[in-house]
Symmetry: C2
Subunit: 420 residues, 2 copies
């Protein structure tokens, strides 16, 4: 208990330093912030050897602990991954500064000048899992949007993250910003992250990045406002009026282009009227691409199709698996999506204007696509530049979150002695 209180006090102290740094960063010009980002990129490349040496320590410890190779691969850095981090920081420098943007402005009847202006949140906490590149990516996006960042990575990447943060802090300072605009929340076990979740008033927003378990625990335990990201149980619905060649290509792309990410398709719904023509096309196409189909009776007519359960419909596989069923009509597809979707991305393939209109109006997800792969729900693809994650909640931001989504606003009202 006293250990936990010590951790809490330490995290609050780090958060207080972040607040002080945030006050300076909030009024920093774009020129200063871009110079800091460029300096960070350069410093990362220059300190390549130190960062890689720290990473070797993390990788060796993970290997000694018997960590699976897939997770070690996410942890491992090499020259090209460090170069990609540096490139990411330069890209953020190239994006417009969201801070100061006038979102709304007018003169009121009584002559008051009203302006709604973008401002930073202040202090942003990021809680994330293995990949050390998130350290640099998140720091860059937060810095450009004027937010001081508290980074809580996984203990397995502790040495790598510490080395990266040291480089970033020195570069921020060299550019004239307080080093504390970027800080690592250190310490063993779950307590530091939990202290971060309880630091209401000291931390303005918390963004978890990682698996469903991490996100659920942050959402449930945090008293700091949270932006929920990333869990995607995405559906592709092939309508009666679909171009079936497009439909096969979209299903394949959505499922197999990169199965491990949140905008990959996990469920396929097929209108009964086209099932007889479409299943003979899509089943072999998916199977040739190595996909295991978990299907209803209609799909089970085909060799190698496993029987689907409600658990399959609920799952975010993140693997070469797909749940599949035939639905009697568009209403049934909408009902299935309402029941099982995680609200990330759903796609319809249809030539019917009426079906597209109903689907886009009635599906309650962050992104609804017509005749396009679910893989397009991505900040880069939609032209937003760098993205901190994909929000699946309805408050504040929904869908890919770029720089503007990392800000709040304030009203500036100017008069000359106005009274009510």
């Amino acid at each position: 208990m006293s250990g936990s209180t010590d951790v809490e006090a330490a995290v609050q102290e780090v958060a207080r330093r972040a607040r002080a740094a945030a006050t300076e960063l909030a009024v920093a010009t774009r020129a200063v912030k871009d110079a800091a980002l460029a300096g960070m990129a350069e410093a990362l490349l220059r300190s390549n050897a130190d960062v890689l040496a720290a990473n070797v320590r993390d990788v060796s410890a993970a290997q000694a602990a018997g960590t699976p190779e897939a997770i070690i691969d996410r942890l491992r850095l090499d020259e090209s991954r460090v170069a990609a981090m540096a490139e990411g920081l330069r890209d953020v420098a190239g994006l417009p500064d969201p801070v100061g943007e006038v979102v709304r402005g007018s003169n009121l009847a009584n002559g008051l000048e009203l302006r709604q202006v973008r401002v930073p949140f202040g202090v942003v906490g990021i809680i994330y899992e293995a990949r050390p590149n998130v350290t640099a990516d998140a720091a860059g996006i937060c810095l450009k949007s004027g937010n001081a960042v508290l980074l809580r990575g996984s203990s397995s990447a502790a040495h790598s993250n510490a080395a990266i943060v040291e480089v970033l802090r020195a570069a921020a300072e060299a550019a004239g910003l307080p080093a504390d605009v970027v800080q690592l929340v250190t310490g063993e076990g779950h307590e530091p992250a939990k202290a971060l979740m309880r630091a209401r008033g000291l931390v303005d927003v918390l963004i978890p990045r990682g698996g469903a378990g991490l996100i659920r625990s942050v959402v449930e335990e945090s008293t700091v406002p949270v932006i929920e990201t990333g869990v995607g149980n995405c559906h592709v619905y092939v309508d009666r009026d679909a171009d079936l060649a497009h439909a096969v290509a979209i299903v394949l792309n959505a499922k197999t282009h990169r199965p491990s990410v949140c905008n990959a398709a996990e469920s396929l719904l097929v209108h009964a009227d086209v099932a007889e023509q479409f299943l003979p096309l899509v089943v072999p196409a998916l199977q040739e691409a190595g996909v295991t189909i978990h299907g209803d009776r209609a799909f089970q007519e085909y060799d190698g199709v496993a029987a689907v359960t409600d658990e399959d419909y609920e799952r975010e596989y993140l693997s070469l698996d797909i749940a599949a069923c035939v639905v009697p009509d568009l209403d049934a597809a909408l009902g299935h999506i309402r029941r099982f979707s995680s609200g990330h991305t759903e796609a319809i393939v249809t030539g019917s204007q009426a079906a597209a209109r109903r689907f886009t109006a009635e599906v309650d997800s962050a992104a609804v696509l017509v005749n396009a792969s679910t893989r397009f729900t991505d900040g880069g693809e939609l032209g937003f530049g760098a993205e901190i994650g994909i929000s699946t909640q309805k408050l504040h931001a929904r869908g890919p979150m770029g720089l503007p989504e990392m800000t709040s606003t304030k009203y500036v009202v100017t008069g000359d002695g106005h009274l009510r």
Copy 2:
């Protein structure tokens, strides 16, 4: 424990009905919603007698319980208050429909059509205190923004709220909407509100309206995303370069125009260079208006000024009291505000462009006013029409929340077979 579980199950059932109603309401046209609002207004006027009879029961019970007259006054309805509720519903009908508004739209390089469109949250919970007029106001704003609403008023207004909700539900149904777009969360004690706070996934957003204690408890206990509203420890800073006649008028207006509301001024800061001229003007003006000044040494030179403490600087008086002190310069004023402000509204009175620029840039509050009374931080005054409350948090909405702030967005992306 089993009692609490029953309450939880009952609230979840009400929330499920709200979700089903919300699915229909989300795609209702503006014409249908406006007809429902007009019907609700008419029905309230027509059912005047029933509503007032129910209110008499609440008022009598409160009187029998020895409730203070000030609170009974907030609880009491009469013909003109019912008429004001009806008028409020008609005003909301007159406002533009936020749902369907295209917030951002472009065609991407690959020909994909990207549209970010306003959509309702879905199910909104409102937890509020004595005033029964909130029942009609909140229902109207939620209906127009396409949200089903769960209303949890105070038990002291239970009969009044039940009578009003019955009228509103019948009118919604008569206009072709499900009655469950408006529901009351009933039951004794704190359990129903707590069940609402735990209904994550069933309720999309929770908005507490009431005193600081209510808001704090919702913020701390809720797993449903919360929009924090209303606590205002607002400052007026009179700068060295202020027009002192304007300054006196602004301080008086901000403090005395309506002392019980969140945008009333609670603290006065005066630049040392003008203290000698300004205090002889502002102290008698405030005292003649019946204001008790809690001042520092400079203010205590005047008769009737009480000694100020840090507790005074922290307080939202909501009464004819004001904390007051002389500060050496603008930096000290900014530091004082950083330390004590609740982030609602702060005003500077100054003729200096440089001081105004620094104040508006560095004060981190929902609204920052230059040469105008803090009383302007109000949805009606700023031209937003009806307002559900004033957000003092940074996530989602900050400042007065009108209809657009009661919506989320989704991305609609249209292609013709687009793949990554």
